[in-house]
């Protein structure tokens, strides 16, 4: 009896041991298995349970009002741009030197009002409000919605007048400097506004940021010139304090680029996330070679490998342009396309301006820029996208230049036609099996329209296009933190692109 009781106690103790010691270990192992071992369906079920727990009761019920104070303050300030005191007026076709720091003669024009540069305090206030709003997703969405609102009639008139005034100011500063040392200012030149009815608050904001940037440039360069004479400005012999002041202008340009990126929608696209990293690594040195060496060895670039990446990105990029599939047909929304082009232009010109001061990128890295954070390797792709979009637009203008209205073509319509013929770029849907047979469907008369592209690019290269692109790419790469692509970018030569075309070797 006693032995039975003892045995019973031992068994009971063993049960306790199993219950109290082994169970927890099993539970931990089970938890690990839930994460690693279970299939997609099971994981979906777990997600189905966990996901609703991430909702916020206070926001969903309206108990905690959303904070949009910064977005509202920024939108209010933008809505006042080009109106009241922030509007400049031409007097006898001239802008007084107190406005931009140089006297500007615009001449006779219908548009006598323009966006006047903001005071330092107002610039700072606007940038702070915008910066705060961009840091908060809920505020950012509110801000982007506000920036889509149409500009007022007074603002439209000021915007139209700003283009002429702005470009004349740039020319005047260059003349005042008496040489070609400020040629980089050309990167900021604004295109003529033809469709002012479609101007939005976002356009007004970008115009204001550009205007402020020019004013700050003139003030800074004048301050750093001997006796305030721009002709005596010597960028090569600046003190550290002087360099820091110029870097402040670069920071302004980086901020403008960030705003353009946000307003265009490009900031929400993960350009690098879609890349196949393992293939990329294989290309950039997986077998003891770097990419340059691999190319020199004559390795062929496998287009099929990048098709999924391109399609994934193209779906987002075409949506950004305003393309959508409607009743089986691709339509590009005119207003969205115009905003896209305006933002691409601003993004490109801001970056080219930032890296056009002639400072060595490595030297610029030493300065702590408040607005450099948004620059990373994907900025290279975004910048190239902006260059392609704006140069395409530029070529179409070049093509249309001496043509009758009936013969003129529109870049939007051409892209729309192309996307309609190749709807996969809008839908992003292509089965793995279809990759081998993937071919682009051309649009009608495309050869005729684009036959002068090489001449156009040659002309543009003569104006310094290739050098500007290369410098900007190198600058972004240096800022992005690594020198991984520097060697490759150093070899960039725009001439190679059209010389290949001429020889019939281009793709």
């Amino acid at each position: 009896m006693k032995k039975e009781l003892h045995t019973e106690r031992i068994l009971s103790f063993k049960e306790e041991i199993v219950k109290r010691f082994v169970m927890p270990i099993l539970v931990i192992a089970l938890l690990a298995l839930v994460l690693i071992g279970c299939d997609q369906d099971m994981r979906s079920s777990i997600v189905g349970f966990l996901d609703p727990l991430g909702n916020n009761v206070y926001i969903d019920s309206g108990m905690a009002p959303t904070n949009t104070a910064n977005a509202a303050a920024a939108s209010n300030q933008v809505a006042g741009l080009g109106t009241g005191e922030s509007k400049g007026t031409l007097t006898d076709g001239k802008i007084d030197s107190s406005v931009f720091g140089v006297e500007v003669t615009v001449g006779e024009t219908e548009n006598t009002s323009f966006l006047a540069p903001q005071s330092e305090e107002d610039q700072e206030k606007l940038k702070n409000e915008l910066g705060e709003a961009l840091n908060s997703p809920s505020q950012k969405e509110q801000l982007k919605e506000d920036m889509k609102k149409p500009a007022s009639d007074e603002q439209k008139a000021a915007a139209k007048g700003t283009v002429g005034a702005f470009n004349t100011v740039l020319a005047s500063i260059k003349t005042e400097s008496g040489g070609d040392k400020l040629d980089f200012l050309d990167n900021l030149k604004l295109p003529e506004i033809k469709d002012e009815d479609e101007l939005t608050q976002g356009d007004m904001l970008m115009l204001q940021l550009m205007t402020d940037m020019v004013k700050n440039t003139v003030d800074t360069l004048t301050e750093l010139s001997e006796g305030g004479d721009l002709k005596k400005f010597d960028g090569a012999n600046l003190t550290q304090e002087g360099i820091n002041k110029v870097m402040g202008i670069v920071d302004d340009a980086l901020f403008a680029a960030q705003m353009a990126e946000e307003l265009s929608g490009a900031s929400s696209i993960d350009f690098t996330g879609s890349l196949d990293l393992s293939s990329l690594l294989e290309n950039i040195g997986g077998k003891g070679r770097n990419r340059i060496q691999a190319r020199d060895d004559g390795d062929d670039f496998d287009f099929e490998e990048v098709i999924p990446t391109l399609l994934g990105l193209s779906k987002e990029i075409t949506a950004m342009m305003g393309a959508e599939l409607r009743n089986g047909e691709v339509i590009i929304n005119q207003q969205k396309y115009r905003t896209f082009m305006a933002m691409m232009k601003s993004y490109r010109s801001s970056l080219e301006y930032a890296f056009g001061f002639g400072f060595d990128a490595q030297q610029m890295k030493k300065y702590r820029f408040a607005n450099r954070e948004h620059l990373d390797l994907s900025s290279l792709i975004k910048y190239l996208l902006a260059v392609i979009a704006t140069e395409h637009e530029g070529y179409i203008k070049y093509y249309n230049k001496d043509k009758a209205d009936s013969e003129k073509v529109s870049s939007r319509k051409l892209i729309e036609e192309f996307l309609d013929e190749n709807q996969v770029f809008v839908t992003g849907d292509l089965d793995d099996d279809d990759y081998d047979d993937f071919e682009l469907a051309p649009i009608e008369n495309v050869e005729t329209i684009y036959k002068d592209v090489v001449d156009y690019l040659k002309d543009r290269d003569g104006e310094g296009l290739g050098e500007t692109i290369k410098n900007t790419l190198l600058g972004i790469n240096a800022f992005a933190g690594g020198d991984m692509l520097a060697e490759l970018l150093e070899q960039f030569d725009l001439k190679e692109i059209f010389s290949g075309e001429e020889d019939g070797e281009g793709d």
Partner: protein, 426 residues
């Protein structure tokens, strides 16, 4: 053979993606919280308290756990003798995103190429702004005895900072903290059985060290460059920022009848963190211990900068109720805390409403038979759930909760799953 070494190296780098941090040395970089990338490193050390987190972050007046005094030192009096050696808490973040991504399938396949894809998918789960990736807490010793409390903890925390939507803008910062906390509390009876007051104070000595941020480009660069030596990079070329602090926490519980308790805790007193940025881990070791880790002798240790971080004083308020029903059959607990109550002062209208809800922590737990705990809470409006199994000397706790990392409510919620295994006392 060469391919094998190559693969090992890649796997090492993948491991480094998850565990350690480094970025190119930039002359003008500062490593303090004024640089947004390092903002989270300034947070005063708080171990992962799984019970509180599963109750929405509430529990200022919640007694009964060996680590209760770390939340409020006034929980020490009457807590009896408790000894916990050791306890490990592992927390993974972005749980839902990870479950939704194909990352787990890639890991399960075990192929080297898929491991790189898994790392890529993992980086994609990290959202823009600040966040956490993985935290491991080791509580080496927690002791409560006669109104005295002692805790020795270590925490490894991998934080993230992402400047844009792109995977390549991801930056990781690895931080290790060691902390020893000594607490003392006593009870002042006011009206026997009706009203008494618990008072307590903690002094903590914390040493924190974090590496300079690593960005995705750097890792990709290292993966693509066969000549790179990750060990050299991390030991000799990566700045390490380290320093100490000695914060004091003072707490009070006013205990009324029927298990009601009102708590008030003042934190971050004397909490200044004295930090030094060393040029490398090796420089830190030579400077502090006169010993090179990498074995590379012959250089003088160098520091980049010294700075101080002063965490803001915080005053928390809490109301809790706990009552045992039917012996130990059922013990419900309710907690309602207002964190950083001082910041509500001077606010009006929507700002006050918003700040109030952002400060609230609400939690409930139900203990069954002194074995099973079921917990639920709301932290800033986000749900949290938890489960505790108490098996004599082994205690297992699981919590799933959401934390807000954004400036405003709803800006950047990140969900987290914590699992804790502890021995001896609860």
């Amino acid at each position: 053979m060469g391919r094998e070494i190559d693969m090992k190296k890649r796997l090492l780098v993948i491991l480094l993606i998850v565990l350690v941090g480094v970025a190119p040395l930039l002359a003008a970089t500062t490593y303090g919280p004024d640089n947004a990338a390092y903002e989270q490193t300034a947070q005063p050390f708080t171990g992962t308290n799984i019970w509180s987190l599963s109750m929405g972050g509430a529990g200022l007046g919640m007694k009964g756990y060996s680590e209760s005094f770390l939340l409020n030192p006034a929980n020490l009096p009457g807590s009896g003798f408790k000894l916990s050696i050791p306890a490990v808490t592992v927390t993974a973040y972005n749980v839902v995103k990870i479950l939704e991504s194909p990352m787990i399938d890639y890991i399960a396949s075990g192929e080297d190429e898929d491991m790189i894809k898994a790392a890529q998918e993992f980086l994609k789960t990290i959202g823009k702004g600040q966040g956490d990736v993985l935290t491991t807490d080791i509580s080496l010793l927690t002791l409560n005895a006669g109104g005295l409390g002692l805790s020795v903890q270590a925490q490894e925390r991998l934080m993230s900072y992402k400047t844009g939507a792109e995977m390549t803008s991801t930056k990781l910062i690895a931080q290790v903290t060691a902390a020893a906390t000594l607490g003392l509390g006593f009870k002042i009876p006011v009206i026997p059985k009706w009203l008494d007051i618990d008072l307590g104070a903690n002094v903590q000595v914390a040493y924190k060290a974090y590496l300079e941020q690593i960005d995705a480009q750097t890792i990709i660069g290292m993966m693509g460059d066969d000549s790179s030596d990750p060990a050299k990079v991390f030991l000799n070329e990566t700045p390490l920022i380290a320093g100490w602090s000695m914060p004091i926490t003072i707490g009070m519980n006013v205990n009324g009848p029927y298990g009601l308790s009102l708590s008030a805790v003042a934190r971050n007193i004397n909490a200044t963190q004295h930090m030094t940025a060393y040029k490398s881990v090796d420089d830190w070791a030579i400077e502090n211990f006169d010993q090179s880790i990498s074995g590379e002798a012959g250089h003088n240790p160098a520091t980049i900068e010294e700075f101080e971080v002063v965490p803001e004083f915080r005053f928390d308020l809490g109301l809790s109720w706990s009552q045992s029903l039917g012996g130990s059959l059922l013990t419900p607990t309710l907690s309602f805390d207002i964190v950083d109550a001082g910041k509500l002062a001077g606010l009006q209208g929507d700002d006050l409403t918003r700040a109030f809800w952002e400060s609230t922590r609400i939690g409930a737990s139900l203990r069954l038979l002194d074995i099973l705990d079921l917990r639920y809470g709301l932290s800033k409006g986000y749900h949290s759930v938890g489960l505790g199994i108490d098996l004599f000397v082994v205690h297992l706790d699981v919590a799933y909760y959401t934390l807000e990392y954004g400036k405003n409510l709803g800006d950047k919620p990140i969900d987290a799953l914590s699992v804790r295994v502890g021995l001896l006392s609860r």
